[in-house]
Symmetry: C2
Subunit: 314 residues, 2 copies
Amino acid sequence: MSAIIFDRVAIIGAGLIGGSIARAARQQGIVRSIVVTARSDASRARLTELGFADEVVATNAEAATNADLVILCVPVGICGAVAEEIAPHLKAGAVVSDVGSVKGSVLKDMAAHLPDHVHLIPAHPVAGTENSGPDAGFAELFINRWCILTPPAGAEATQVERLASFWRAIGANVETMTAEHHDKVLAVTSHLPHLIAYTIVGTADELEGVTESEVLKFSAGGFRDFTRIAASDPTMWRDVFLSNKDAVLDMLGEFQEDLSKLTRAIRRGDGEALFEHFTRTRAIRRGIVNIGQDEAAADFGRKHASLGTVDKPS
Amino acid sequence: MSAIIFDRVAIIGAGLIGGSIARAARQQGIVRSIVVTARSDASRARLTELGFADEVVATNAEAATNADLVILCVPVGICGAVAEEIAPHLKAGAVVSDVGSVKGSVLKDMAAHLPDHVHLIPAHPVAGTENSGPDAGFAELFINRWCILTPPAGAEATQVERLASFWRAIGANVETMTAEHHDKVLAVTSHLPHLIAYTIVGTADELEGVTESEVLKFSAGGFRDFTRIAASDPTMWRDVFLSNKDAVLDMLGEFQEDLSKLTRAIRRGDGEALFEHFTRTRAIRRGIVNIGQDEAAADFGRKHASLGTVDKPS
């Protein structure tokens, strides 16, 4: 039996996520050919050099033509426009998907343009790094991470399962839920953390009385952990917050209430309330490590030099 | 010439930080003997087993007797009480220090009890992990991290330099500043990030409509980065917030203003404001990596399994 799940796969936007999908799918032998798009000559040259695609083309229309699976790996704000662009070129029976961090708006935006003869099955692999661009991708990115599918009502079960098997073959665990529920869950596990990280890193950047050099030097006290996700792609994240506004504002409200509670405990010197809260949160970390969603090693497994490199006094 | 900087070193509280100092100082050969304290029989037995100290004793008084350097590695809230306890036993000329994350209150609390014939030089190594206890320590913890000394006015320069050379010999970079300035700088680089992380992890823990299992599963979207510091020692952090209340509340005020600005931008759909902010914060990460205060590797260098371990469809 063949291991091929989709013959021709078009990846529109070969950045961190798109480039990782291409590398992984090729390495696993589950596609016959991969076509990627890039607008500029320079990007196309780089993609050709990287060599993870069989074809590098200039237009999304060309990529979509004859594709069995089309995956939009672009900021969620332009998924609708790309769907409109490729719609006339899609072949009957093609699966059209994406990797956006917001699903409600993407589903609505894309469904408005796609013909009835294709299968729209939005997806969101919950994986990534703070880097972006085609050079940032790697084949192992999705291993043991979750990919959430949000098929619309009436989606064909065999096509949903086909896309799920594609994601499983490149290492992901797959879960299916409604777009609405996805957007609520991700608002807390991803969007709110990013917003808070972006905020605190901005706060530290413009303080009176503490220099930027001091902030950088003493960042190992905790601050540096926030800077990683505050270094994520600005376009992608602008679109996430604009597209998932309601759920994000809801979560922000919850967060604000909890922050007020802890602020009040500090102001009043209520050590018991602080201790109780800090003990409870410690358990969550253990839960994440136990299910394999983070390293058990201390400090994310960050490396340390050896004392042999440190001068001893003589 | 001898490499010994202090003959007899007493470490009061041999947890993550104290245990790491002991391991590193012994490995570098900069002390002649190390004595550590533990109250319970079980802790003393474990410390003896770990073997990073020459003596394990039951009382702080005994440890302090004849010590040339005494380092309090206990929560900042009890530094005053420990200073009172050891004061009558300190020998003339001893250096007394600590490792607390707050310096103003520690300096005040300890100075009130110590005799004039010792040198009080508070210190704060800006290093650590989310783990605590004597098993969590390791000799490399301080390499390329900063240790901040906050000597009181009138401290003897040769003794400050002596303590600085001790920290440098175990890998740290040393900087000197006032306790007041320290507390302001650390409020932003450490205390505020911890408070925010504790808050958001608590928020995620008690949401309606999103299960805890979902929060854990999809934590790779960003949330898991916050759980590490929200797993830090509850007693230590309760004391930090109670002891550095004013600076922390100030920083919280700044953070709240910035969060309101971003919240407003989301509510109004102001993509430009979001994009501008997210671009600015990206640069901070680069600054931290450039000065060697975090890994350049994506995602903190977290490891990934190989696709060879993932089943291909047949």
